[in-house]
């Protein structure tokens, strides 16, 4: 169900981004002449992709399905809590879409910065609806996080110590802790904004002694861990897939696990690198530069460990492996532009330009989304009992890979030339690369249509798969149960005592 929600979210959010790209294809106003509507599209695209596509797919979808299977548990610890956490999310999505349709919509960007999001500049209920939607999505995430932590800490099969857990389980565990710690901060900030808007408080209103920058600190204290919440499960998935198709255990298992833990910890102390131009003290900026650069170290460990896992392996290039290798390369491209952005000096030049847009689409749209596709092709056999069409899967990969690069790479150039984010029309000089970028969006759209066809073919014409379609490389527990996995799995508790670390 999470997957279905994520797909619906994906279609809605994707459609919005295609509207944006169409509008930006050539200079001048194409068909969006209400710029508030344009801002609403930008806002809703961001919120939907983050909260209603990537998070439900990776955490809700694959996390809920695969984690119990991997640790030898029959199901999640609190199935009913899981249920309410799903329906809260569905309600949140409806609220958010409603927000976009009433009172002019929230044209604030997904960051909802006051004063623009205050009642004075956004009268009407749209922003209130968006806030409530995020509240519900946050509550849903916190419940989900509690469920995961309980399940992973208490329901592992005998002999599966923490250091024998598959890396995907590790990644979900770290993600759950991030959610648990970050979401309440967002909830607090959102509540303050809500009372600012409706009950005359002035937490973020300078006229009443408040400070709009306070919102940014609170938002990004949540927002930066949120970035890792979206990408860490992806790291876990890539580790499983790379190991399976190289027919080799993961290289440097402990290093991989603790790299994720340290990314999670450092993720909490770098938030102000989103705020280099708000007028922070120069020493503060210097600290955040240093802290942000440090994150590159554990991330580098992960990249090199994946390559070392493949090194000496016997690699089979099935569709999931193609996506995983695509992920590694694109994530590196997104990561190194992150290194550039980490330097407050250079960031001043490219802050709030398309360079930043390119950067976070490389790590999220191409990182997180590629890992979602990796996981889809890897586990769909286990989830549906049917195999996806291999050839179409590979074609899907190559079209997407080419499309997204045409789409996002030119944005670096636009950003260096100074094109700001979130503008519905641009100076004529930016026309060339915008045209290229919009063409890339078209290619990517075609790939997405193909993906839905693949889903359709898998469910209607896919051949039945055995318990383990991937052969000897797939050593984790989910491949020991039949496909599709029954509702209550591992009726005989697997004994992990004699096994190697599940690497």
């Amino acid at each position: 169900m999470y997957m279905v929600l994520a797909m619906i979210g994906g279609v809605v959010g994707g459609a919005m981004s295609w509207f944006i790209r169409l509008e930006l294809a050539v200079p001048g106003i194409q068909f969006i002449d209400d710029f508030q509507f344009y801002n609403v599209l930008v806002t809703a695209h961001g919120l939907i992709m983050v909260f209603f596509v990537v998070m439900p797919a990776l955490i809700g979808g694959f996390g809920n399905w695969i984690v119990p299977l991997m640790i030898g548990a029959p199901d999640m610890a609190f199935p009913r809590m899981n249920n309410i956490s799903f329906w809260l999310l569905a309600a949140a999505l409806i609220l958010l879409v409603t927000a976009g349709l009433i009172g002019g919509g929230p044209g604030t960007g997904w960051t909802v910065y006051p004063p623009l999001s205050n009642a004075e500049y956004h009268p009407g209920p749209a922003v209130d609806f968006a806030i409530l939607s995020l509240h519900l999505a946050g509550a849903s995430s916190v419940l989900g996080a509690i469920n995961f932590i309980t399940t992973i800490l208490n329901m592992r099969a005998p002999g599966m110590t923490l250091h024998r857990m598959p890396l995907f389980v590790w990644s979900i565990l770290v993600t759950a802790f991030l959610l648990l710690l970050a979401m309440p901060v967002l909830a607090g900030a959102l509540t303050m904004l809500l009372t600012d808007r409706n009950f005359g408080t002035s937490f973020f209103d300078a006229a009443g002694g408040g400070d709009p920058i306070l919102w940014q600190h609170l938002f990004w204290f949540f927002g930066h861990p949120e970035v890792y919440i979206m990408i860490l499960p992806g790291f876990g998935i890539i580790s499983q897939v790379v190991s399976t198709f190289s027919r080799k255990p993961v290289f440097g298992y402990l290093g991989m696990a603790y790299a994720m833990v340290s990314i999670g910890v450092i993720g909490f102390i770098v938030w102000a690198h989103h705020m280099y131009t708000v007028g922070l003290d120069v020493d503060t900026r210097a600290y955040f530069v240093a802290a942000t650069l440090v994150i590159a170290v554990p991330t580098g460990i992960k990249i090199f460990s994946w390559i070392a896992t493949m090194w000496g392996g016997s690699i089979r290039f099935d569709t999931p492996m193609l996506w995983a290798m695509g992920f590694i390369f694109l994530f590196v491209v997104g990561g190194v532009t992150g290194l550039v952005l980490a330097n407050a000096g250079v960031d001043t030049a490219v802050h709030d330009t398309y360079y930043v847009v390119a950067h976070f689409h490389y790590v999220l749209s191409l990182g997180a989304v590629f890992s979602i596709f990796t996981a889809f092709y890897y586990w769909i056999g286990k989830m549906s009992g049917r195999r996806y069409p291999e050839m179409l899967g590979r074609i899907h990969f190559w079209i997407t890979f080419i499309g997204v690069n045409i789409l996002f790479f030119p944005m670096h150039f636009l950003g260096l030339q100074g094109m700001p984010r979130r503008i519905p029309d641009y100076a004529d000089a930016y026309a060339g690369w915008n045209m290229v970028s919009s063409f890339g969006a078209l290619v990517t759209a075609l790939a997405t249509v193909l993906f839905f066809f693949i889903v359709y073919r898998t469910f209607t014409a896919g051949e039945k798969v055995a318990a383990n379609p991937w052969g000897e490389g797939a050593t984790t527990l989910e491949w020991t149960v039949e496909s599709p996995a029954p509702f209550h799995t591992h009726e005989e508790i697997p004994d992990m005592g004699g096994r190697q670390p599940a690497e």
Partner: protein, 281 residues
């Protein structure tokens, strides 16, 4: 993609380095920064070029490894997988080497950061105030006059004025002068940005932010609001006209006559606020 990157990376470097082309506005199909026109921008370009070499190197290195692994260790060429899972030496190496690379990046980065923070002894000050959706400027050191700067709409553009970038009143500033820029906002967040001069700072209501710039060459420099500020966010450009010091003095004389003084302007603003009242909120 890989191919594109390989072809484009050196191109970006050359384009960024070729500062001789006098660009003060964005140019079609360019890959790098706008040509630098201030000492801060020159240093940023320098650091960026260093970073670009490093990150291109890293990317190509990883790409090379991926390609090598794919060719050498696929099912056909290496049917029996090895079972190695640990190698302490290489693990220490790939932790230590990135740390060294980061140090190489961090040192010039900190130098730049402190250099660009604020002017030691500014020779003049201008105040920039963001509004929905225009900028207003004040010259406190030159008689405290003020004026608003709106975008020129498409149908009123004259020859040579760039669409969406041209404004009715440009900010006129002298070249080779350390200029302190003070920024604030009247309503929501804005950001005052001029890429070729590399001033970019948020205008925050209730706060005064400070930065500085020094313009090397005469010319008109264009920029845009860089913080989402509502419906017409994309339509409040910045245009700086840099002139010689003498021309600036002449301009100040006429500007004093033409534009209102800032303090009277503030009074009328206050009066307006008092009239309309803020009780609505």
């Amino acid at each position: 993609m890989s191919k594109r990157l390989r072809i484009l990376a050196p191109l970006i470097a050359t384009c960024a380095a070729a500062g001789s082309a006098l660009a003060a506005a964005p140019e079609p199909w360019r890959l790098g920064f706008q040509a630098a026109a201030s000492p801060v921008m020159e240093r940023i370009e320098e650091l960026h070029n260093l970073l670009l070499v490093i990150i291109t190197g890293i990317t190509l290195f990883v790409l090379g490894l991926l390609v090598y692994v794919a060719l050498r260790f696929n099912e056909k060429s290496n049917p029996v997988p090895s079972t190695t899972t640990h190698n302490t030496v290489i693990e220490v190496l790939w932790t230590a080497v990135p740390v060294v690379i980061l140090m190489v990046m961090a040192v010039p980065s900190f130098k730049l950061l402190y250099f660009m923070d604020r002017a030691q002894d500014a020779e003049m000050t201008i105040k920039v105030i963001g509004h929905q959706w225009y900028w207003s400027y004040e010259y406190p050191d030159h008689g405290d006059f003020t004026f608003d700067s709106f975008m020129v709409p498409d149908d009123e553009l004259k020859d040579g004025q760039p669409r969406l970038l041209a404004v009715d009143n440009k900010v006129v500033l002298p070249i080779n002068t350390d200029i302190r820029v003070l920024l604030t906002s009247d309503d929501v967040l804005h950001a005052w940005a001029v890429p070729a001069l590399i001033t970019k700072l948020d205008a925050v209501p209730g706060r005064i932010n400070e930065t500085w710039m020094r313009i090397n060459r005469e010319g008109t420099y264009y920029g845009q609001c860089s913080e989402l500020c509502g419906v017409n966010h994309g339509f409040m450009p910045v245009a700086v006209e840099a002139v010689s010091k003498e021309a600036f003095r002449t301009w100040v004389k006429t500007a004093k006559k033409e534009f209102a003084r800032a303090d009277t302007d503030v009074d009328t603003n206050l009066a307006q606020v008092a009239e309309t009242g803020t009780g609505a909120r």
